[in-house]
């Protein structure tokens, strides 16, 4: 509110002069994006060029949309597109839901030590390399006698041929993703919950609201803007398959491609022999543009529903 009033009253410059430290704090972040996100944008032109190492980026010949041909006319284009979107939607929905639940539960823990220890534990998988996760998954589901099958048989269930059942893998991957990412997201949500003013809770308690009512009527609604922002950020990458994750877990197991092959792994395999910068850049550009379209669309929908939750 204060910001908007200021902005309306005086020029931007005045605002900067009045709050120099606030802006100084933003400089490192801005620099980061400038160097790693805005500088490289000029490289987009590689997608439209027959890129040649010797001629360099500007010297290579323009080829129009030829680099886009291979990807869009690939046989598996729709399958891969579907896989990428399905997996990402599953990831976003379940990770967010799990993270909100975890954050709400953390918020109710009163024992400080228990809270800190359990936070650290739930945060831990986020720091684990996908290669390590891949090995864990491999020993659970892979090999001639998967560990999971031994457990299943111990409780009297039929063993499953995991590496042949491509239908199961979107769910397995989702579980892994939630295990890996929900902890991290929950910490962000928890921070947002901590920021909710105590007055509201006090008032609710005086009015005799139950714990559940407080959660549903105060905590959750006030958490929605943060949830929306995190979701919108995730939607921006909805066309990017998580290469490190999928490749570390699925690897070269072709039996699982029908449900787990995403844009990034497919392009990786296509380019194994060719190493063509132009074609890979074309796919990257396509992913970014579609991501942008989706973010704008999602943001537009969000604005319609609740204006405060929108990103811009």
């Amino acid at each position: 509110m204060q910001y908007q009033l200021n902005a309306r009253r005086g020029s931007k410059l005045k605002h900067i002069i009045r709050n120099p430290f606030l802006y100084a704090m933003a400089v490192p972040g801005l620099l980061f994006f400038l160097v790693f996100s805005y500088f490289p944008i000029y490289g987009i032109m590689i997608a439209f060029k027959d890129y040649n190492y010797a001629k360099g980026i500007t010297g290579s010949d323009w080829v129009g949309f030829r680099n886009f041909n291979y990807f869009f006319t690939s046989d598996d284009f729709w399958v891969i597109l579907r896989n990428t979107l399905t997996l990402n939607v599953l990831f976003i929905v379940f990770t967010t839901a799990a993270a909100v639940l975890i954050a709400l539960m953390f918020n109710e823990i009163r024992n400080v030590y228990f809270k800190r220890i359990s936070q650290s534990f739930i945060f831990l998988p986020y720091f684990m390399s996908w290669i390590v996760v891949g090995m864990i998954v491999q020993s659970l589901f892979g090999g001639e006698e998967p560990m999971i099958n031994a457990w299943l048989q111990n409780v009297g269930l039929e063993p499953v041929n995991w590496m042949f059942e491509s239908k199961l893998w979107p769910y397995i991957l989702t579980v892994i993703r939630v295990w890996q990412g929900a902890g991290y997201l929950s910490i962000i949500f928890l921070a947002a919950i901590t920021g909710i003013t105590e007055d509201l809770y006090e008032a609710a308690r005086i009015d005799g609201a139950s714990k559940l009512q407080i959660v549903l009527r105060i905590t959750l609604p006030l958490l929605v803007p943060t949830i929306m922002i995190m979701t919108l950020l995730a939607v921006g990458k909805i066309f990017n398959g998580d290469f490190a994750m999928i490749y570390a877990i699925i690897g070269d197991n072709s039996l699982l491609y029908p449900t787990t092959d995403v844009i990034d792994t497919f392009v990786f395999r296509s380019m194994r022999q060719l190493h063509d910068f132009g074609m890979s850049s074309a796919v990257g550009l396509f992913q970014s543009v579609m991501g942008l379209v989706f973010v704008i669309a999602a943001n537009w929908v969000t604005r319609r529903v609740s204006k405060e939750s929108a990103l811009f």
Binding site: L30, F33, L34, Y38, F39, I41, Y42, Y51, N52, Y53, A54, K55, G56, I57, R66, N69, Y70, T73, S74, D75, D76, Q138, G142, G143, E144, N161, M163, G251, D252, N253, S254, L255, Y257, F266, R269, S270, M271, R272, Q273, L274, H275, D276, F277, M279, F312
Partner: protein, 510 residues
Amino acid sequence: MSLKKWFGATTALVLASSLMLAGCGGNSENGGKEENSPSNSNSATSAPKETVTLKAYFPGDKPAGFDDVLQAVNDKLKADNVGAALNINFLPWSDYGNALSVKMSAGEEFDMYLDAPWLSMNQMIASNSLKELDAMVAERPELKASIPSEMWEYNKFDGKIMGIPLGTTQGQLYGMLIRKDLREKYGLPELKTLDDLEKFLYAVKENEKDVKPFVINGIKADKLPFILSESANQALDEVLEIGVNMFAYSTKDKKVVGQWASPMIADAYERVTKYYKDGILSKNIAQEQNAETLFKQGKYAATYYSTDGVEGLKYSEMLQDGSDKLEVFVPNGDQAKPYTAFQQWNFLCFPTSSKNADLAMDVANWLSIKENHDLMEYGIEGKDWEPVGESSYKILSSYTFPGYVLTWRPTLTRTADTMMADDKKWFDFSTNPANFTLSPTSGFNFNAEKVKTEYAKITPLHDSIFLPLSQGVLPADQGKMMLEEKMASLGGQKVIDEIQAQIDAVISGK
């Protein structure tokens, strides 16, 4: 922030960044030129030569004890007045190809590196990023002599030497490494034919509780049909390996065909299908990555073998207990004279951007002298290794230099004294050019530039259909049909036609 403001800020940032970028570009060009001028004048001065440090990039991890050996190499380079010192950088395999492409396109200066047709060599040649070496090789007798003439001749690109071919063997024979103790346990004679092999594998399957018949890494399984065919290791109607995955060349009708459609190894695909169904090939084959470890642990009775001098050595530790429980089975071994293109898979390349190519070639020549070669590849004599005769050596330390990036010379190679007798026999066999038949497609290196859209589209078929077919996971008839269909719908014919055209051009040019 409103949308308008947001865009305003973005535009401003982009503008600012492009301005700064323009500045950067200019600077680096100037900087590059300034840096180089002194080194040029240096190399002109005469003895004792001033030392120019050459920068090299190779894939893999830095070998244990490498710094000491490199120091010794550089000391000797200095003592021999070559005028160069080596600065060797190892980049992890996982991003070697990408890192090199980026370094090359960013114009970073370095003097030598490992490249190959399976990495980025063809693209590098197409973009004039590599030095032609013909004249420089001719002027360097030790280098020229250390590599057989067939190897020089048939590893040219468009008739020119674009990299020093690195290799030890002249072609490959495929076979299996067998647990001799198990074979003897079932009273089976030495394996000579595929039927003998089949008996052995089925005997293990039926009788052994803890040992399974055969293990191979999923990704290696495209070689299985070469082993399990009656035509294995002979020079018959088809050249199976022409350097392009999945395709073969029929010498009978002079046509490029799919390996899957080859009548010559059709029997192998039937065998693979049957073995997979019968559990001779593990159900796990599609995702198997630990074949080496599993075989070493004694969980399998046979594994993949090829005469490349590497495959057999992996298992020499199994014989450290003094037993001789391993033997090599090479199908049609006594009449083997397989096709070879005398093609090597690794090349020491010299970027055009380097100002020290002559000097770098001097170093390559220097490394072709036996004692220098031995110093780089096996380490410091007495500390890392000691000679056993002329062609063998005893390993004393854990120093293992990846010779295929720099030092492999067929005439200078020593084999470790731990190499099992069978393996050494077949390795020595394969280092001799006389044991191979010159492939009619030799000299052909596929350049996919003209059909790269189609080539990019069919490349994934290798992993998604061709491998499962070779693994037996997809039954032969079904897998072959799927490949035919997909190849047709993805424009595979255009790739085949292009390969055909390039092979025809090579053959007519001979």
